[in-house]
Symmetry: D2
Subunit: 347 residues, 4 copies
């Protein structure tokens, strides 16, 4: 249920409304737009309370949200969510670029890549310290040491960092070292992990399960939002279809669909979404043209010798740099601009 207030409803009327709701033991979520405020109620609302609210001063309408997700819904929060981390804005008109290797391999590797990522104009350094692998005998990431290496490289070059967290027990340590936490496609419905991220104090990038519907993705986001964390990004990273030429089928319709259903920023991952280096550039451009709020792209200085074997989908540094130059020209045509790199203090 949401209460939509009239234009320019004064603060004290809003407070009165909130008081009535909280008196009934329900939780309140405020969403202040430019000209009106939307008050969300979480919990079961009695018809009597709904009717009472409808007749209060300053209330224009009381609307039931029939979707299973509430906080993630655009009904609940009509304006775009803009996440701000150390001065970098993600969402709305701000286009954020995240680049880096599949896995952190050594201090030298991640430092050199960070330098190139920054020089190309990106704002966020990606890199995996804990790697989800199909089989138990594959390289599983270098763990906490990798987190530290990436944090150092990020700070040295003035980049935010993003890394994947795979299990509730590692949420704290990942949140200590990284600016943004990522949930991988296989964990989109790892509900205990999602709950732990609801209180982690860091923005979360939630990847769509490779066979998850839009509705399931938004419900997974709801788990994080319901825990109190409002800074969630949705990420399209390709779905599983019958086509085997590409590793996945990048579903770019997800971008406008999710932006219509939700206020959360939508990021595209053309690297995992295609699994082929030569497709990253056209699909990155297509993602921006479709309205993506950001991109997460694999880049490696020596992709053919990457430790995960994912090098086949990593760009070379010059390809990454050229792509960003093209994207900077493309963005204004769809009402976007690169997020600033400036606000981040360099150590």
């Amino acid at each position: 249920m949401i209460v939509i207030t009239s234009n320019q409803t004064p603060e004290d009327q809003i407070n009165d409304i909130i008081a009535v709701i909280e008196k009934e033991g329900l939780q309140v979520h405020l969403s202040k737009g430019s000209d009106r405020t939307v008050i969300g109620l979480v919990g079961s609302v009695s018809p009597k309370l709904a009717e009472h609210l409808r007749q209060m001063k300053g209330v224009e309408n009381v609307v039931k949200i029939s979707k299973s997700y509430k906080l993630a819904s655009r009904d609940f929060h009509p304006d775009d969510t803009i996440i701000e981390v150390k001065g970098v804005k993600i969402g709305g008109e701000h286009l954020a670029i995240m680049g880096g290797p599949c896995a952190v391999e050594s201090p030298e590797q991640i430092d050199e890549i960070a330098r190139l990522v920054k020089a190309a104009g990106a704002q966020v350094l990606r890199g995996g310290a804990f790697k989800p692998r199909t089989g138990p005998y594959s390289f599983q990431g270098i763990g906490v040491e990798g987190l530290k290496m990436m944090a150092d490289a990020g700070e040295r070059h003035g980049l935010l960092t993003i890394t994947e967290v795979m299990t509730p027990e590692y949420v704290d340590v990942c949140a200590e070292y990284a600016d943004i936490l990522q949930v991988g496609t296989r964990n989109m419905q790892n509900f205990d992990l999602l709950r732990a991220l609801g209180t982690c104090g860091r923005p979360v990038l939630l990847k769509r399960g490779f066979s998850a519907t839009y509705d399931e993705l938004l419900n997974a986001a709801e788990y994080i939002l319901a825990g109190g964390n409002r800074d969630v990004m949705l990420c399209e990273r390709g779905i599983r279809t019958f086509e085997t030429y590409t590793r996945n089928t990048l579903d770019l319709s997800a971008i406008p669909v999710l932006q219509g259903l939700s206020h959360l920023p939508v990021i595209s991952d053309p690297s995992h979404g295609t699994g082929r280096r030569e497709l990253v550039e056209p699909m990155a451009k297509a993602s921006v043209a479709a309205g993506a709020n950001g991109l997460i792209i694999e880049m490696h200085t020596d992709p053919d010798n990457s430790m995960t074997g994912d090098g086949v989908q990593s760009l070379f540094p010059d390809q990454f740099s050229n792509l960003l130059q093209d994207l900077e020209k493309l963005a204004p045509l769809v009402g976007k601009k690169f997020s600033t790199q400036e606000a981040i203090s360099i150590k």
Copy 2:
């Protein structure tokens, strides 16, 4: 098997090579590039003939094509195929826009839409006279009368026309009235239809089956090419996945993949590819950004009362016009420009 000639091989040497091939009873397909000629051999090539060709003057290399399709392969024809119809070019840097209603309904309807399509800057008028319908009791199109109405409207407004042909027996009449013939998604592997189109004398737009792989699409194109018709366009129109929010999942990776594997122009259909009006604009832009050689878009003056019930995916005329203005700005960023409208004579 293909024979790659040396740079600047003189005509008479090429003729000698061809003579040797034809003496063995094999068919020859010539592809003249800017600096060299590729000679394709269709049929079974003996090792002895291959060796003989390899040692002839003017031959740089003899290469076996391991793909099941040959004429559709970029190995066979390294340069982009550019199809020219009444002065309008499709392929390479030329971006062709095809717009119009799902079905031709009346002379007035198609004339008014043709006027708007032309005014918006498009080159081709689309419209169905024969409609493939899931059930036998649905509206099946108005038939040959519709073909004539569309031909008239096209000629009056200086537009090429494209229409779907569903069965071999209607190929001739469709070819009489339309400039381009279209094979629908359900007929991609209607092999007798494909064979008939191989000799129809009109360019063909071949839609990908909604569960066809890239390889199957290229093999279907091969049926048309093998009949002698070189003017084939491939069309991505969405594949069937588990997601039900969209009618289909538009697979934009198909654009760069098919352009890599083949020399044929690739057209995108964001209308059927999404099934939702509000997604046509972002996905049309994404298609162009991904490198599409053209778009086919449904537009209707009264979409909510269209006879096929497909209005839900049709743009209103002003949306169509605004979209084309945006695309005209976007195209140069990916090395494309709108195909000219000028060359078409107006009755």
Copy 3:
């Protein structure tokens, strides 16, 4: 719309009802069950006519069928359709087994296989004379000569024959030589072919498109039924999924689902449905246990040298024979028995 008559409604009352319907220019389809008759109306029924019918003697109820298919619906025809060809019954409790090679290759091959198919206890000989092939350069079948060879072999060994027809123009010649005509998975929505089969005078086995829904399959059947041909069998032959270990994913739920929605017999094809010889036996048994009315199975005397390359999914003759012995024991547990072989006259 259907009119359900009361128990034991006398013939003359039924005739009165029919007369009223036909007077309004509508078509009538009668379905006489053991204790009541269902009268189907095809065409648009006015509320006035419906009300008039409801009040006639012998009418228990008048029901609108909301599904897009009518004649294929079990509402329309509550009892199982049992197709009878030369004394062999298919449908209801009768389990029909169809066996034979992917393609007819020579008189000797098809004669020897027919002998083995008959000896194993099957009733129908399958074999392709026209083969739908992904690429134009693959073996396309031996054509009409193959039809004749198969007809001879069938007659000599007392077997019905079934063969695929790919295009409307070949319906007549296939109907001349074969007892049952088959529509392949790629042609399930070749609507002109379906229409031609509506008047071909032969039972039709309609294969589900490899990405067709149940609803689409039933609508395709409706095209044939609407042409006047009541003898349609539905065939589950595997759908396309992300799994690549098997050629297709045989969807056995299709069997009880289709039998619930429709009165038509449902046949299972474990050969194409799995694409692997070792899976044919367990999936054939599973098909019967799920309630299939028949099986169509590839068997070859020399599968590794079959002309289509589909030998990898063909059983050896002794495997086929052993399987049928097992199925004959399994059938009674699910209320089925083998269709008789006896009624077919041997030349």
Copy 4:
């Protein structure tokens, strides 16, 4: 790498072989068959060691396993794994039936259902105490109290119990109260959970992810096996396809395929695999006919009022009982018999 010993190799020779392997720091897994022993090596094997082993007494062959999973592979363990819990055998010829409600709701509910499950002839009581739910506001199970209720009911009626565990931290408490732990479809690649189950001391039923390939399922099982837990069952529970009439598409080919690739028992879940009560019976029979080693089936005394809303796929008690009677007749036709109920002591 595996070492295959000769027929009847004496114990001391086997010990010699093991000593050589362990000296190199590698782990050994023994699989004793009726006439020979297979010794599996986990870790990187040097060519020198392989050659040394090949020449030892009692060694017939040394074979590299090229699959990414080793312990799950039938190469590694040629005989069927038979899991024994409190006298009940699962695997090989023993057909195990697991029945019960989606969720444990109250002591009375689970006790009454347990009584009916036992009376019908099943061996295992299923019931969820922790429920994975798409959205955060749905009923999430009653937790540890539910585990205790189910353990009591199981013991009172002489049934094994199986319950889902969703997160590593709950493995211990689930293992305390339940005989078998279940991994749900969304957690198939929750690698930390799989690792925790590798040392939990209980058999594990691992459900296939709804879009997981056979290979991914076997690699997930490998995580558990590599932790030292040999008692793993694989469970087919339906995959996600384009078909929406059924909740999932139950892929019965998975049964013979997985039994070919692996020695682990394969269980089928026709309840989740179809999502419709009327399909459970035919698909349960089809599963057994395809060779399943067991079934897990939802049954509820009041399905329309179940707390999870999954009642629509639950059988009524009499349907469950009738089904088991039919299955008991069907099993011998495919070389199976019901696992005994006798060995379990009743409190």
